[in-house]
């Protein structure tokens, strides 16, 4: 029972242009990263990295992206990530850059990290609040994220039953 070991790179798309969020999608991002690797490391680097390279998860609203590659070549990938300058999709090109947040061995660790990271973000946001309205807003969403956890679980159970009866 030997498995292929992977590395998951959690990064954040940072762009000034809000329309860039349009471009945050599997294909566009994958192409951009590949392009960057090819530019930086050449064909060899590209080939190394593209073994099992995929975009595992992305969230256009938060700009979070989870990339996967083989453990052997994740350094090549990580070193190429800063060279991503833009995202291109549907003949639109928007400048942006990628900010590496975390490199993990499993998706799970990345997810855990993401939770923690987002929490700190929200807390920081809460601290830096300027007016009461904002504060309440953030508090509400903070509560909602902890609340939704339970809700999701209960919802999950219902779903379980539904699938089992199928």
């Amino acid at each position: 029972m030997v498995r292929f070991k992977n590395r998951y790179v959690l990064c954040e798309v940072v762009s000034e242009d809000p329309r860039c969020r349009q471009c945050i999608e599997d294909r566009a991002l994958g192409l951009a990263v590949r392009d960057a690797i090819a530019r930086v490391h050449g064909d060899y680097g590209l080939a190394c990295c593209s073994i099992s390279f995929t975009v595992k998860y992305l969230n256009a609203y938060t700009g979070t992206v989870l990339l996967r590659c083989r453990k052997d070549s994740y350094r090549l990938l990580c070193s190429a990530l800063p060279f991503v300058r833009y995202l291109e999709s549907r003949a639109q090109r928007y400048p942006c850059h990628l900010n590496t947040l975390h490199v993990g061995g499993t998706i799970r660790t990345c997810q855990k990290f993401l939770i923690q990271y987002n929490r700190t973000q929200l807390l920081r946001l809460l601290q830096n609040c300027t007016n009461e309205e904002e504060r309440q807003c953030i508090q509400k969403s903070l509560l909602s994220c902890s609340l939704t956890e339970e809700q999701s679980q209960s919802g999950d159970e219902e779903e379980d039953d539904g699938t089992e009866t199928d």
Binding site: D17, N59, L125, S141
Partner: protein, 1010 residues
């Protein structure tokens, strides 16, 4: 497959968050007006998205999306000052204001999605498997509380799921409740609805491989390794078998009436009849073969043994016919037919019902002593607790088992499971009997006036005549120990006896009963017993009386009470003296003669049978076991008959229905076994020249030999058929052309024949013709088209002919001793004429190497073979040249056709074209072509191989008794005479044996033992 895998994957990924992209947006960005990144298209992500939208119903992404048109993500900039690194370029799309709320909501939604993913385990493993090993505990698998608290919730869910998936548990009660006696008995009764259990079933089921056969659950062979040990027990010690599954049919009526009808179903030719004087007196047990009334030698019903009740002054006689359960239905029907016993006897049904209800209540009041027949008292069953079934549990209570004839007053009743029968085989059976059983003491006073216990015995003891008879019986029984082997008694000796409860003198430990011959060395009485046998009047037993049997069964002291009484003994372990309360059980001892035919090992496998009233099975069984007997099952019985060289029921009776049924079942099971092998590893029987490896084609064999006899004019002259059988001969043995014509037009031929034929024999032949046509389904024939020769005179003659003359003129001596004629044409021609299609039971012992197997072929050696053998003493035997598989092409073609058909079917299913049905049918005709099996109608089985086939082996194995391979089987009578006629005098009876899966022939000597 892929669907299932996808489903599984979907289930696994259900909790994983899907990528979230912006939905399609109208406006300047959407170049082609296309949607935003189309989700991978599986249900999961759609669900996920829906959920997302559902969850955040209030401040949802949709809102966010609304913002996103006008607002930009400068919010982030304001949210976290330095993040954008001052790259903010002002443009039209930049919002004038920012909302923290959308930013926070987006993060919050992501957190919740991730939380969900993290909190659910993603792998397929169980919860406690996710724990590191050092934290695992054994009890975790069933006790949730053993897990860390954070995992308990998940584990609980998992456990529920596992329970849900498991089968519905039938055990509603706890084990203690299930094992409670009442429930246990109810359960046992329930379980033996289909297949009856013998009384020793539980004992057997713990130690034997059980098989369901003939409506019974029987022990096949012991689970321990005991093949050789059982043989040794048979030869030197004692082997015990439970033969209670044998059925007892009882006939009651006037002697001459009974004999008159019974004479119709057996023949003096085969040996005994029911009329045999020694048997008729009740002194000896007889065995014979039954035939349909007036149909001898055809329409065999099966072998039976019978016991007459000794004459007791009255005109009415009682006869027990013991039959194998496989033959019971046929024989019972025939008996009913010949005695015209059509109507069921009313008294027999109604009487037990009424009485038993009364008794049931009575017993309930007293102490519910003993067990009862449950079947007869269905009405009483509701009131009383469940009773163990004793006797035939499957019998419908209202189905009659006794029939009476109005004209003659003869009653035929089915007493199966009413009388138990145990068989002891081996020389030690005497000492075991005498050690186990003690003759009952004479008792003149009732133990307890209220119970019926022993009241019959007390009454009998008042009669001095009966007392003296009992004393005589017990004296003879005591003397048995002095006789070294059961075979020293006259065959079939019957000894009636009344014994005390064998449980009382149970030894404390398992011992080995050894005879003490010195005690009887010069005993005059023993010598008398040797010479005269058991006196005639000693055969009387009370077991013949139904009422006494019933009384004995009902008044058995239960094991529990007995143990209770034992526990109350003053000196623990001392002999328990029940005094007048001790039950008296009438039994019947029947000597089994063992090997009688042949010259070697006379009397091998002799023993005693014990008949007991039902209900007493275990009470006698355990004491026997404690005396050191070994117990055998069906396999041991088979071996016993094999070493005795006697035909075993129903394996070796191919001419009776049970035998045919058996052969058919054997064929299907062997074929199944054959098909289970991978095709490349199967023996190709076509190449080996074996036509039918799984069944013996007896009909085909005899028919082919008949044709051969006709064809070869040198051997016999067909022009002058014997006068008394020319009518039948003329019809059946036509020239081959006519046969061909008939086969070509079966309907016409059959019609012609049926017109011609008036005799019953002819009708048989018609069936034969039809059967040979579709010989692919050989089992279609209802009645057999051949007979098995059982006429003692003829067998004696054949047996004498089989002996070679080599050793000191032994054959001449034998022939002169038996008063037989030399083998000349005028002697055997009439035999051949009267039995054109007969089989002879033979035994074969291999000269040198070789282990014969089931369905091995018995072949005639050529002259070269014999010459080779006489020259080279180490010559093992010739080899069969390899045959060509003529069916290989066909099988391959069929395979291809199947493939094509499959393709076509696929096409058809696409096109949904209904026109392809005839094609399918055409291919289905050859559906059962199997590589390596002869798939056509069998050709001439005798001349298919290089050596002419004479017959087949029905049982063969290495014989521990003789020390070489031995086989039993049937050969064609015609073929046998042909072979003997052509063989040189010193090589008579030499045949070749070839197992189905081999090309090697082995020499064997053929013997007929009478």
């Amino acid at each position: 497959m892929s669907g299932a895998r996808e489903k599984k994957r979907a289930k696994k990924m259900r909790n994983q968050p899907a990528s979230v992209t912006l939905p399609a947006e109208p406006g300047p960005f959407a170049g082609g007006g296309s949607r935003a990144c189309p989700t991978p298209g599986d249900v999961r992500s759609e669900q996920q998205q829906q959920k997302f939208s559902n969850q955040s119903s209030g401040p949802s992404y949709r809102k966010d999306q609304n913002f996103s048109k006008g607002q930009n993500r400068g919010e982030r900039g304001t949210g976290r000052g330095g993040w954008q690194g001052g790259h903010q370029s002002v443009s039209e799309e930049m919002p004038k204001y920012i909302t923290v709320s959308t930013f926070a909501q987006a993060r919050a939604a992501e957190i919740s999605a991730m939380l969900k993913a993290v909190s659910q385990k993603s792998s397929n493993s169980l919860v406690f498997q996710t724990l590191p090993r050092h934290m695992r505990r054994r009890a975790m698998s069933h006790n949730v509380k053993r897990l860390p608290r954070r995992l308990q919730e998940m584990a609980r869910k998992e456990a529920e799921k596992a329970v849900h998936q498991k089968k519905e548990q039938s055990k509603t009660k706890c084990r203690k409740a299930r094992r409670r006696h009442i429930n246990l008995v109810a359960e046992f009764n329930h379980r033996q609805r289909k297949n009856i259990w013998l009384e020793t079933h539980i004992w057997h089921a713990k130690r034997f491989h059980m098989v369901k056969k003939w409506g019974y659950c029987l022990g096949n062979s012991p689970t321990e390794k005991s093949y050789r040990a059982c043989y040794r027990a048979m030869t030197k010690q004692c082997l015990l078998q439970d033969l209670s599954y044998y059925c007892c049919l009882e006939l009651k009526g006037k002697e001459n009436e009974l004999l008159k009808q019974l004479a119709r179903i057996c023949s003096i030719d085969t040996g005994l009849t029911f009329q045999e004087a020694s048997c008729l007196s009740g002194r000896f047990e007889g065995s014979l073969n039954l035939y349909r009334a007036d149909r001898y030698p055809e329409d065999m019903l099966g072998p039976v043994t019978f016991i007459w009740k000794p004459r007791d002054g009255s005109e009415n006689r009682q006869l027990w016919i013991w039959v194998h359960p496989a033959l019971k239905q046929d024989i019972l029907r025939e008996l009913k037919a010949i005695f015209q016993c059509s109507e069921p006897e009313e008294i027999c049904i109604s009487e037990p019902v009424t009485t038993s209800i009364q008794e049931e209540k009575q017993v309930e009041v007293v102490m519910s002593l003993g067990n009862k027949r449950k079947k007869e008292d269905k009405e009483g069953e509701e009131a009383v607790p469940v009773k163990k079934i004793i006797g035939d549990g499957t019998r419908d209570p209202f189905q009659s088992y006794s029939w009476i004839s109005q004209t003659t007053g003869i009653t035929v009743s089915d007493r199966s499971m009413e009388i138990l029968r145990y068989r002891l085989i081996g020389p030690l059976s005497h000492s075991i009997l005498t050690e186990t059983l003690k003759a009952a003491s004479v008792q003149t006073e009732m133990a307890d006036s209220e119970t019926e216990l022993n009241n019959w015995w007390v009454e009998n003891c008042k009669d001095s005549e009966k007392v003296s008879l009992h004393q005589c019986q017990s004296a003879v029984f005591e003397l048995l120990e002095g006789i070294s082997s059961p075979s020293d008694m006259p065959p079939g000796t019957i000894l009636g006896l009344t014994v005390g409860d064998p449980r009382v003198n149970l030894p404390k430990k398992k011992t080995k009963a050894m005879p003490d011959f010195e005690k009887y060395q010069d005993n005059e009485e023993v010598r008398q017993l040797y010479l005269k046998g058991v006196p005639a009047d000693c055969a009387h037993s009370f077991i013949w009386d139904h009422d006494i049997c019933k009384n004995v069964t009902e008044n058995k002291i239960s094991e529990q009470d007995l143990n209770h009484m034992r526990a109350q003994l003053l000196i623990p372990g001392s002999h328990l003296d029940l005094g007048p309360c001790e039950s008296k059980i009438p039994i019947l001892l029947v000597q089994q003669p063992g090997k009688m035919a042949g010259e070697d090992r006379p009397g091998w496998g002799s023993g005693w049978d014990i008949c007991l009233p039902k209900g007493w099975g275990m009470a006698f069984w355990i004491p026997f076991i404690y005396q050191g007997v070994r117990v055998g099952g069906l396999q041991e019985a088979l071996k016993h008959s094999e070493y005795q060289r006697t035909p075993h029921t129903p394996n070796d009776f191919p001419d009776c229905r049970a035998g045919m049924q058996f052969a058919k079942e054997l064929e299907t099971s062997l074929l199944e076994k054959f098909k289970r092998r991978p095709p490349a590893k199967r023996a190709n029987y076509v190449k080996l020249g074996t036509l039918s490896p799984f069944i013996c084609p007896w009909g085909q064999l005899t028919k082919n030999w008949e044709e051969r006899m006709k064809a070869s004019g040198g051997f016999l002259c067909p022009s002058s058929p014997h006068p008394d059988c020319c009518t039948t001969e003329g019809q059946t043995i036509c020239d081959p052309k006519a046969e061909v014509v008939r086969e070509a037009s079966p309907e016409n031929g059959e019609a012609e024949q049926t017109m011609e034929i008036t005799s019953s024999e002819g009708a048989l032949k018609t069936e034969d013709v039809t059967s040979t046509q579709d010989f692919g389904e050989r089992d279609e024939t209802k009645t057999s088209d051949f007979i098995v020769l059982r006429s003692e005179k003829l067998l004696m003659q054949l047996s004498a002919w089989c002996y070679p003359t080599a050793g000191k003129d032994r054959r001449i001596r034998l022939i002169s001793r038996l008063g037989q004629k030399e083998m000349t044409e005028d002697v055997f021609l009439p035999i051949l004429m009267s039995y054109p299609r007969a089989l002879v039971w033979v035994n074969l012992s291999l000269l040198r190497k070789g282990n014969p197997e089931l369905h091995a072929m018995i072949c005639i050696p050529t002259e070269d073979d014999l010459l080779h053998l006489s020259k080279d003493k180490l010559f093992c035997g010739p080899q069969e040249p390899k045959h060509r598989d003529i069916f290989k092409d066909k099988v391959q073609k069929q395979k291809e056709e199947k493939k094509k058909k499959k393709k076509k079917d696929n096409m058809k299913s696409l096109e949904s074209d209904p026109a392809g049905i005839p094609d399918e049918e055409a291919t289905e005709d050859h559906e059962d072509l199997i590589l390596g099996l002869w798939s056509d109608a069998l050709p001439d089985v005798t001349s298919h191989c290089s050596r002419t086939v004479l017959g087949y082996v029905t049982r063969g194995d290495f014989s521990l008794a003789v020390g070489c391979g031995e086989a039993l089987g049937f050969v064609s009578l015609t073929g046998l005479i042909y072979m003997l006629h052509n063989q040189p005098a010193d090589k008579k009876g030499l045949v070749l044996l070839r197992t189905p899966a081999s090309l090697q022939y082995r020499f064997a000597r053929l013997n007929i033992e009478v």
